[in-house]
Amino acid sequence: MPHSPLLKVESLAFERDDNCLLENVNLSLNSGEIVQIEGANGSGKTTLLRLLTSALEPSAGKILYNGSQIADCRYQYLSDMLYIGHQPAVKLTLTAEENLRWMVNSSAKTNQLSIAQALAEVGLAGYSDIPCYTLSAGQHRRVALARLLISEAALWYLDEPFTAIDKQGVSFLEARLQEHLNRGGAVVLSSHQDLGLNNLRKYSLSAPTGQTQ
């Protein structure tokens, strides 16, 4: 019996208003692997990630999770997935702790690490009970990234996770990604950064031929 990969993307395409944004994307991801999506600005990296999260419907092609279409195993797939988008989804009037608690509540698979420990690990130890509008953009990103410490989801989709964080934060995130991969997780991320991770593959997006603009 052939082994089906954790995630398989077959000839995925996405069109909007007769404008082809992505076409013929093929990807296969096993546990322990990481794919870095590269491409110029506007080449569709975020669109591809949003297609993977099922927030967008592809106009053609299939996304298979453990060999079955994601529409057929929606609950399992979404529980096993963690997505951190361009916007960190941090509410400015809530404190870092409240933000993280809510984010953790709405994702299904979590471990026992406490909110306070996770915030301490991302370097926000003294900031847990002040409203997020006093924090910087990089600190907002760190609040969102603290989810990675609590999540038990196997599939991580990260859209430009290195935006706005400092060097120390980058190495922390790299270490966390490597740990996740070693435990059998898988990651798809978009970044322009060169990453020093094992099992890293790059996937380059080029502007599709059908683009009319």
Partner: protein, 227 residues
Amino acid sequence: MANSINSGFHAWLKRDLLLAYRRRGEAASPLVFFVMVSTLIPLGLTPESARLAEVAAGMIWVMALLATLLSVDGLFASDYQDGSLEQLLITPQLLPMPLLGKITAHWLTTGLPLTLVSPLLGLMLSLPASGYLPMICSLALGTACLSLTGAVGAALTVSLRKGGLLLSLLVMPLYMPVIIFGTATVTYAIDGLNWLPPLAILGALFAASVALCPLAAAGGLRITSAN
């Protein structure tokens, strides 16, 4: 599974209530609008209590509707801007339940305060004594309908830059039965008629809205997020 459906409702209800509490000033603006406009009516129309009493029920209902319409615009706006809406769309829970939580929070922070403060406005507009109880009952049910149907419009217009006007155009026809039966409840009571039938129709509208609007709002959000 049942547990996860519940947790979606509670998590979003709690979060939106907390957010409203943190922005108390902003959250109170529909209520302030409601009270302020009511104080203008005796000045603009007539201070004579007999003539005010004739229009009191309708005026209170029109203002409650406008106050809800003003606030429903922002139901998904900030979540859309900061990316929370994107996270909401990919929660494993069934989407209508978190949405019902958000809508409930909206009603608790707009419709319920409007209902509670309405007797004061009744007093200012010399509403006859027999109209108070029907007014409170009809506003409690009616504002819940307004929050629910407003959420559908808000979901459809959240990605538009100036969605406010379109939102009003979309939901206004849906608000009409609510205001008709809402004012009917109060005027029937003032005229000494049985006010339970129009209230029962409001109840039916509410039941239909609870069942259908979260589903429609979920569909609306999926459409807007795809654009």
